[in-house]
Symmetry: C3
Subunit: 312 residues, 3 copies
C-alpha cells in the first residue's frame, strides 16, 4: 500500500495511487493538514528545500504548492515560472541535463509543471530527489489536481462509489478531467457523462481505461439531459491556447441558472479554474458551487499531505 | 481616527487617511521603523504571510514592500511581477476570481500593483485579507508613494502647512503627483504650482478636489518662474509607455544647474523614480536632492509602518 | 593577501584574486562548505540579506547563488531574473540609479548578472554593499565560474601548475573560458590549447595577458591533435544568441567517443553548461566527465565560500 512510483516517491500519474492508500492514508491526512492551516502552520518541514520549476506559467498551482510548503515550515528554495523562456532550456539544454544539475543542489523535492509529456521511467532514472508532477502535456496528467478533486468530492458527498459525474467542455485537451477519470476508475459503480462537442471529446486512452475498469460512461452534447441526475458537474475551461474552439450551437455546455435549476440540492459544481464564461457568475453564490472555495482549500491540504508524506 | 477603508484595513486611496492619523500615528511610527532597520530588523511579523501580485512590473516598489516585510520578520509567501502575462489572467480569468482564490490561502496581506483602476467597494467585498494598493491605473493612485513623499517632506521641512510645492512634468499620467495632491489637500495654506506642457496638465478631478479643500494652485509652463519661491520641487518622469510626449519647446520642465541655482538653500528636490533625463545628473550630489536617498528610505519605513499597523 | 577589489570586497574580475588567497583561503574554505552542505546547512548568515539582480536570465547561476545563501542560513531578500525587461531599466533608468536605490535597502550583498560590461571603478564608487559579478558582457567575465572551475580542477588533479588544458569551441564570446584563462595566468608551467574555428578565436586581450604571464598557448582547429596529451578538455557552448556559428567543416570541435578514446585516463572533461550537442550524451557516463557533477557541486561550494568570506 503506497503511492510510490517504481520504487521512488515521485508523483507522476494518477494510476500510481491505490484505492487503499487514497482512503486510509491520503484523505485522513488532508484533514490533519486542514487543522495545521487553522493553527496558522507548523514547522515539521523546517530546513527542507523545495524547487518549483514551471515550464508553463501557472500562478495558481505554483501558489498552492508554495503555500503548502510554507504552512509546513519548509523553504521554497528556488522558483521560476517561465523555465522554458528564461532558462538554459532556451539555449537548447535537454530536460535531463536540467534535472541532473538541479539534483546536485540536493533539494528535498522538485515540483515541475512541464510543457511536454513526462516519461516516468526517465524521471525515476534521472532524479534522486522526489519529483511531483504539477501538470504535464501531451497524454499528460495533473495528479495533484485529481487528488484535490477527489478530496473535494469525498468531503461533500461522503463517498465516491456509486456517484454520477458529468464532465463538461473541452475534454480532449483538459488534463484535469483526464486525471480525474483515471482516479474514478479506482472506485465502484461510478457513472461518467462526457458532455462535449464533437471536436473536444474525451481521448480514447481514457475511455479504454474506464472500460477496462468497468466504469460506465456515456458521451453526449447537452448538459441539461443529465443535470438532474448527477452528483457532480465538473466544468472545464476551453483551452484556447491549444487552439480549441467550442461550437456552442452543437449542444449545451454552459452552467447557468437553467442548469442550476435542474440540479439536485445535494449536487456540487466543480471547475479546475481559471474560469472564463463557461460558468455564469450568477452560479457563484450558490451553495453547490465549490470551485472558488472547497476546491482551492482541498488543493492546499492535498499538496501539504503529499509534501508531508514525501519529506517528513 | 483611523486609516480603515470602509470598515476594512485596506489601503486604496489617499483620501482615506485623516490628517490626525497621519500626524499622530503614521509619521511617529515611521521613525520607530527607521530604528528597527538601524538594528537590522525584528521579528514582530514572524509567521505572517504577504502576497505580492503585480499586474505591471515595478521592481522598485516590489523590492520596497518585500524588504519592509522582511525587516519586520514576516514572510513574502508568494510574489509575481507579471501577473497579467503569466497568470490565469491571460486565460481570461476575472480579477474577482483571482482575488477570491488568493484569499483561500489565508494570506495576512495582499499587495497589488494593478493595471486597471481599483474599485474600492469591490475589493472590500471580495477580499477578507487586507489589500494594499501598490499603484493602480486610470484615475488611480499610489497611496504608499504619497505616504513616503509626505514623510520625506515632513522630515526635511518639519511641517506641511504653509509649504509651496512645484509639481513638474507629466502631471496627466503621473499617479504619484495625483496622490500627493490628494494628500496635500488635508493640510493648510499649501500652494501648488503645476508646471507642465498643455498636453500633460493635471486632471480636473484633482483640481476640483483642491478647490474644495481651499488649496491654492496655479498652472504654468516654466519651472524657472517659481523655482526661487518653492520649498519642494517634485519632478516626474514622462510616461512614454502611456504615449505621452513632452514638448520641451513649450516651456522649461527640466531640473538642471540653472534651476538649482534659483532654488532656496532649504528647498528639496523630489522624484518618484525611475528618472530618465528630467533631472540632470549634475543635480544628484546637491544636498537638496532627496530622490536617491531620503525618499527611498522613507518608502521602506512607510511601508513597514503600514504593515505593522495592519498585521501586528 | 586578499580578494578585495580596490578596497571594497566586490568580486568583479578574476585578476583581483591572488594565487596565495586562492590556495590558502579560498580552496580550503570550499571544503568546509562541502561539509556544511553534507550536514544540510548551517545558520552562520542568519538575518543577512542577498539581492539577486539578473539583467540576463540564468536559472542555473541564480539557483547556485540562492542555494549557497540558503545553505548558510541567509535570506534571498529579493530576486529578479529579467531586470532589463521588467524593471525601471526599461523606462530608461541608468544602472547607477538602480544600484544607488538598491543600496538604500541595506542589503548585505548584491549578486548581479549584467548585460553590459561592469566598470569596476563605477561599482566601487556607487555601491556600499559588496557586489558579486555573476557574469558581465563585452570584455566581461564570470569570476565565480572561474573559481568553481579552479576548484574542480584542483580537486580532481591535485594541482594547477604544469597542467595542459584544451579550451574548445566558441572562445570569442565565452566569458567562462576568458575568465579561466585569466585564472590560469596566476599559475606556472600551464599550457593552453585554444581549439576553435577562425570566427570564434580567443580574444587578443586574453592572449596578451597570457604572454605577459609566460603561459604557453597554441591555437588549433582539431581537438583530436591534443586530446591525448591534455589533463583537461574544457568544452564550451556556441553562443547562438550572440550570432556565433561554428563551421564544423573547419575542424574537430565536438567531444565524442572518438575524442574520449584518445584521452588519458586521468584527464577530465569540463563544460560550463548548458550543453547542446558539443558533447555527445555517450560521454556523460564516463568517469572523466565532471560537467554534470563535480562542477555543479564546486559552484555551490565556491559561492558559499565567497558569501561566508564577505558576510560572516
Amino acid at each position: 500500500m503506497s503511492m510510490q512510483f517504481d520504487g521512488w516517491p515521485h508523483v507522476i500519474r494518477v494510476q500510481q495511487f491505490s484505492r487503499e492508500w487514497l482512503e486510509t492514508q491520503f484523505l485522513p491526512l488532508t484533514n490533519e493538514m486542514q487543522a495545521i492551516v487553522d493553527n496558522r502552520g507548523c514547522q515539521i518541514l523546517s530546513g527542507r528545500k523545495m524547487i518549483c520549476l514551471f515550464y508553463q506559467p501557472s500562478t495558481r498551482t505554483r501558489m498552492s504548492f508554495e503555500f503548502a510548503m510554507r504552512y509546513l515550515g519548509g523553504d521554497v528554495a528556488f522558483t521560476t515560472e517561465n523555465a522554458r523562456e528564461f532558462s538554459s532550456a532556451k539555449k537548447g539544454e535537454t530536460f535531463g541535463d536540467t534535472l541532473m544539475v538541479i539534483n546536485r543542489y540536493r533539494p528535498d523535492v522538485i515540483v515541475i509543471r512541464y510543457d511536454q509529456e513526462f516519461d516516468p521511467k526517465f524521471v525515476t532514472e534521472t532524479s534522486q530527489a522526489p519529483v511531483i508532477n504539477a501538470g504535464d502535456r501531451g497524454m499528460g496528467q495533473h495528479p495533484t489536481q485529481a487528488l484535490l478533486d477527489l478530496r473535494t468530492i469525498s468531503k461533500r458527498r461522503g463517498k465516491i462509489d456509486g456517484l454520477k459525474i458529468a464532465m463538461v467542455g473541452d475534454l480532449d485537451q483538459g488534463r484535469t478531467v483526464r486525471s480525474l477519470s483515471y482516479m474514478l476508475g479506482k472506485f465502484c459503480d461510478v457513472t461518467i457523462y462526457f458532455v462535449s462537442p464533437s471536436n473536444a471529446k474525451m481521448g480514447q486512452d481514457v475511455k479504454d481505461y474506464l472500460k477496462k475498469h468497468d466504469i460506465f460512461f456515456e458521451e453526449l452534447v447537452d448538459l441539461r439531459e443529465v443535470a438532474s441526475v448527477v452528483d457532480v458537474v465538473y466544468q472545464t475551461r476551453v483551452q484556447i491556447e491549444c487552439g480549441t474552439v467550442i461550437d456552442k450551437s452543437q449542444g449545451y455546455f454552459t452552467i447557468d441558472k437553467t442548469v442550476l435549476d435542474l440540479m439536485r440540492e445535494d449536487a456540487i459544481i466543480m471547475h479546475p479554474l481559471p474560469r472564463v464564461d463557461e460558468i455564469s457568475v450568477e452560479v457563484d453564490g450558490d451553495p453547490r458551487a465549490v470551485y472558488l472555495t472547497d476546491q482551492i482549500d482541498s488543493g492546499l491540504y492535498a499538496r501539504m499531505a503529499l509534501l508531508k508524506m514525501i519529506l517528513a
